[in-house]
């Protein structure tokens, strides 16, 4: 598509009335650094977001603010991992998002940890039930043998606990690493947005080109 064709689609893009193929073409064009189209988009986006001011204003329910304040204290992971698809398909600045690969999802497997714990519990129960079974004539050898087995079981339990601890530490490190990378990606994205804003500022200082202010909204 020619520049003019793409520029003509900007008002439709701003109001969300562009077919997927045209939308992608315009986004690619914007990413290529077309300043006129980007300026035009900002102007028309300002128009689009002014539309709700025409609506009859209805206040939100009185309890909503308190509900939101309470919801802020809920753990982050509970809500965000519960419904990852809740993210809208087109948020502000979203047209840059395909620059970034999908964030790695943290799905640590606790299955084997659970298996280990169950194995240990089962071993202990078996050992205890066997140990507590009636022994009418316990000999010294038998007692010694049982004591040895108890020590061995204890040692195994200790080993398993150690393995569990190591595994938990490993998972914790992995989580931290993932979180760090997600933060880095967010920072890179912010930097790109900042560059975008700087580009706009630079453009506004170009004398021959008339820029249009977009103070609201």
């Amino acid at each position: 598509m020619r520049h003019q064709d793409l520029e003509d689609t900007v008002p439709f893009y701003a109001i969300g009335a562009l077919e997927k193929i045209e939308r992608q073409a315009l986004e690619a064009h914007l990413l290529s650094g077309c300043v006129p189209c980007h300026t035009r988009l900002k102007e028309y986006q300002s128009v689009a977001v002014a539309l709700p001011f025409e609506l009859r204003l209805v206040p939100p329910p009185r309890h909503l603010k308190a509900k939101i304040m309470d919801a802020r204290t809920l753990p982050l992971s509970t809500e965000e991992t519960a419904n990852p698809s809740a993210k809208p398909s087109l948020e502000p600045g979203e047209w840059m998002n395909h620059l970034f690969p999908p964030s790695p999802t943290s799905t640590p497997s606790f299955g084997w940890i659970l298996s280990m714990v169950l194995l240990v519990v089962l071993g202990m129960v078996t050992f205890l039930s066997w140990n507590s079974s009636p022994q009418d004539t316990p000999t010294a050898d038998r007692v010694a043998e049982l004591q040895t087995q108890a020590v061995e079981a204890q040692a195994k339990l200790t080993t398993l606990r150690q393995q569990l601890k190591e595994r938990e530490e490993s998972l914790s490190l992995t989580r931290e690493e993932l979180q760090r990378r997600i933060t880095e990606l967010a920072e890179v994205k912010d930097q790109l947005i900042q560059r975008e804003a700087e580009l706009d500022d630079l453009k506004s200082h170009l004398p021959p080109q008339r820029t249009r202010p977009t103070p609201l909204p």
């Binding site: 009335a17 900002k42 977001v49 709700p52 939100p60 802020r72 600045g93 967010a186 103070p215």
Partner: protein, 196 residues
């Protein structure tokens, strides 16, 4: 409405929006007070249900607090960012809803909600409302309908053509002319506002 809520949604301080996303409780409260009525009205217009609209608002504000979404000056004014965020989430929920329900929502929209008297609006928001309302009123009916179906129902031109029983080209023309007229009116208003 309390005093803070009387401040204009259209003049939210960008610094306050940034602080709200960084855990500043006072800034977050201010952001809510200044923006919640416009955002709720928008979500209600799209979804037609107070409960659904309240859900959307809760999702948006909690995501801001938890930094799942972040305001940046490169994204326009705070209210522009909030409106875009709220609209896209409400439209997504509308698309995911039952088509029959969607139709009912459209038919019953705006019938039983208690509106805020205009005297409680801030002067800045009132001025913007006057400009946008006047421009929309001046548009031919089908131009306005096409814009509203696109913006508040998330319909594509082909879907609007079906809904309005018009050729696709006619819908494209109406959308383009309508947006162009709105752009012109608002641009003039903003230039006057800046010069004043």
């Amino acid at each position: 409405m309390d005093t803070a809520a009387q401040h204009a949604a259209s003049t939210i301080d960008p610094k306050a929006a940034i602080r709200a996303g960084k855990g500043d409780d006072q800034a977050f409260n201010q952001l809510y007070d200044q923006s919640s009525t416009v955002l709720f009205s928008l979500a209600l217009r799209i979804l037609g249900s107070r409960e659904e609209a309240a859900d959307i608002l809760q999702e948006v504000y909690v995501d801001i607090w938890k930094r799942a979404v972040r305001y940046d000056v490169g994204r326009g004014t705070p209210i522009a960012w909030l409106i875009t965020l709220t609209r896209s989430r409400a439209i997504e929920r509308l698309r995911a809803s039952d088509p029959q329900l969607r139709r009912q929502t459209t038919l019953t929209e705006g019938t039983d909600h208690t509106a805020i008297p205009r005297k409680f609006e801030s002067p800045a928001d009132q001025a913007l409302r006057t400009v946008i309302s006047k421009t929309l009123e001046d548009l031919p009916k089908t131009h306005r309908q096409a814009i509203e179906l696109a913006y508040y129902e998330g319909l594509l031109p082909a879907e609007i053509a079906t809904r309005l029983d018009l050729p696709l080209d006619a819908v494209m023309t109406r959308l383009k002319l309508g947006m162009s007229q709105l752009h012109e009116s608002l641009h003039t208003y903003w230039e006057q506002d800046l010069s004043a």
